[in-house]
């Protein structure tokens, strides 16, 4: 299945190149905040067009890992490669190189972080227009199409506070897509939402996966992981405790820690 996806990815126009290597390779990533060692040597490989789901208890470093991929945090050591951008974190990477790394991915935050003073359409066009300096007519046409794609064609002129949580999060996804990234990062995109709006966001994400987007998703939506993920990683204490296919990790975990975590998620009482 993931093989077929890789074929798609090369031809679907999501910015992937002809490179045969996996899209993302992370080796020995470490990150601390003061004395707190949050990531203790993370290895991560993401195939082109595949979906990787990260799960793990609170504080295990999931958000920090995503932020390192987007250069919102700079790790102390380790190597990160996304497509053709390679960064040796121990070698004090230049701001320019970190900016290039950041430009490879689009980020969707748990608390959407839309710009409250801009309409949905303006939120989506902001990056392409002002950071990427692409022509306005092209950017607006593309942004309008992206809003339609996430089911918000009629909300282009609405301000974020006029939208529901699920709608806000979908604008956030369109904003990330508008950057034409090669990789999409999602940090618990549904955990701040009302239960009845979770589905509309997950549906959009499932469609993106089917289109061949390469995605790394932090989520505790286990059913989504089972249906959409190609690869699941369980993090605890800053290390990858267990990883593999969703059918294995989520259904028959090898590690006791994974089993206990899943039990807590699926049956909180």
């Amino acid at each position: 299945m993931s093989g077929a996806r890789e074929e798609d990815a090369v031809t679907d126009g999501t910015g992937t190149t002809g490179d045969a290597r996996p899209l993302v390779e992370v080796r020995g990533l470490t990150k601390s905040f003061g004395d707190l060692h949050v990531l203790r040597g993370i290895d991560l490989t993401v195939a082109r067009g595949s979906v990787t789901v990260l799960i793990g208890p609170s504080g295990s470093g999931k958000t920090t890992l995503l932020r390192c991929l987007n250069s919102l945090e700079v790790p102390e050591s380790g190597a990160v490669r996304v497509d053709d951008v390679e960064v040796d974190m121990a070698a004090r990477p230049s701001p320019a190189l970190l900016r290039r790394l950041r430009a490879t991915s689009g980020m969707v935050f748990q608390s959407h972080q839309l710009f409250p003073h801009r309409t949905a359409l303006q939120n989506v066009t902001e990056g392409p227009l002002y950071a990427q300096r692409r022509p306005r007519a092209q950017v607006e046409a593309e942004a309008t199409a992206l809003l339609a794609k996430v089911g918000l064609a009629d909300k282009a002129g609405a301000y974020p506070h006029e939208l529901s949580g699920g709608q806000q999060q979908r604008v956030g996804i369109a904003r990330a897509l508008a950057l034409r990234p090669r990789l999409l990062l999602f940090d618990e995109p549904t955990s701040a939402l009302d239960p009845e709006t979770v589905g509309e966001v997950l549906t959009v994400m499932r469609d993106l996966a089917a289109e061949g987007w390469t995605m790394v998703v932090v989520t505790h939506e286990i059913r989504f992981a089972q249906q959409v993920a190609d690869h699941v990683m369980f993090l605890d204490g800053g290390v990858v405790v267990e990883e593999g296919r969703p059918g294995d990790v989520l259904v028959e975990p090898r590690e006791e820690r994974t089993r206990r975590f899943l039990q807590r998620i699926l049956d909180p009482l």
């Binding site: 987007n70 430009a103 935050f109 608390s111 972080q113 409250p116 003073h117 990056g127 002002y130 950071a131």
Partner: protein, 222 residues
Amino acid sequence: MTSDTWDLVLSSIGPLLSGAVRGTIPLTLISFAVGLVLALLVALARLSRRRVVSGLARAYVSVIRGTPLLVQLFIIFYALPSLGIVIDPFPSAVVAFSLNVGGYAAEIIRAAILSVPKGQWEAAATIGLDHTLTLRRVVLPQAVRVAVPPLSNTFISLVKDTSLASTIMVTELLRKAQEIAAPTYEFMTLYSLAAVIYWLICLVLSSAQARLERRLDRFVAR
């Protein structure tokens, strides 16, 4: 009111309004505009990671807020000439008031910038905006909403503070009132009239402030 007083009121209104229009109002507008630009620079300097830059900005704010405006005015107009720097009354007043607004408004702008959540800076970074664009397109527009009410207060205070310029011979509203009152001893009439004109200017500004705040609130849930 006697008819003499009434005549005085009628004949003074013209010169007083001219003092307001040619002195008080331009002095306020120019000083506030210059002061705001200065304040933005000082606020950004205060937020700078470079110790020297933020230290200088902090010292500036501290001096401006820790000394009387009248003393600042006197230093510029009466003391600087002893160093060979002679500035005319009106520009002296502009310099003093601009520096003063710069100090007070810097703290307002700094607090407003800090009130914008860190997540907004991060969201701007992830879509590729650099520091300057993030400030201009994401942070400052949101900070403006927070800064407008206190900045309006600074503006309205400035209208009244410009009356201090009368002490360095700037022909503004209060100075005009003094000039007319001195030979006639009609202090009550003239100063009351001046007070009413100051008050009317501030009323107009307050209603403009309310309108501006409503406009800026349009993208915020209430």
